[in-house]
Symmetry: C2
Subunit: 125 residues, 2 copies
DNA sequence: CTGTATCCACCTTGATACTG
DNA sequence: CAGTATCAAGGTGGATACAG
């Protein structure tokens, strides 16, 4: 990471400014979709199994109904999750990860592993 | 992901609820440190090269001085970055990634790659 | 240059009540 | 069950001015 630049801007003092900027943009793109307080948690949860609204409400710790509703809508708009209404009585709604959303799974898995590995350090400030 | 659970809770309707919860917690831990609108960008930037305050102000697009200052303080408290005052005239301050912060590099690299790969899809909503 | 202090507008959220 | 509407309250960010 950092020394594979072929461009030659006049004088940037630092090398690889372009590569850096590119990475930052790419990560911003992800964060536009997955950022915020809740979205990663929701997607992570759905990566394991489809869930109903009320199940997510319980599993995503601390989220309120209003916010969950909105976040699910956003994620659906971005094609990361799907929403299926089942005409049970009363109706239930199932949210599931899409194929596209599933491509985050790899990422999420790595993050989760990292989180577990570094847990002590993070918690102990 | 999802079928390696050995616990056997009474009846969770879904398997691997425990693993799911664990992953969500782990990711929350990361997000406590790296979440928010700016922190990942700052760390990503510093992964490439140490930077001065004013450099970061330019490179992290849209951030204000007040917020950058605060975020840097947080990241320093969490030992992800270091702060070095150089007694030039006038003084300059250099922020750099720590060894610990550097362990995020792997993660960031993967995220950046993913972002680049999926750029079109994300941008095209 | 590297910040901090203050003021203020905006956004997000939680609680509650309500609909289909 | 699965949301939506409303409102009040707090947090967060930007601009500006200022300090070391």
């Amino acid at each position: 990471m950092g020394n594979t630049v072929t461009t030659k801007k006049p004088a940037d003092a630092k090398p690889s400014t372009a590569a850096c900027t590119l990475s930052m943009k790419a990560i911003q793109d992800i964060m536009d979709v997955l950022g915020g307080k809740w979205r990663i948690s929701i997607v992570t949860c759905l990566c394991f199994s489809p869930r109903r609204f009320s199940e997510l409400l319980k599993m995503v710790d601390g989220i309120s109904g209003k916010v969950l509703s909105r976040e699910l809508k956003d994620l659906e708009m971005n094609k990361l999750i799907s929403r299926t209404v089942k005409d049970t009585q009363p109706i239930t709604v199932e949210y599931a990860i899409t194929d596209y959303g599933n491509s985050f799974k790899e990422l999420i898995q790595i993050m989760a592993e990292w989180g577990v590995k570094h847990r002590k350090k993070i918690i102990g400030h």
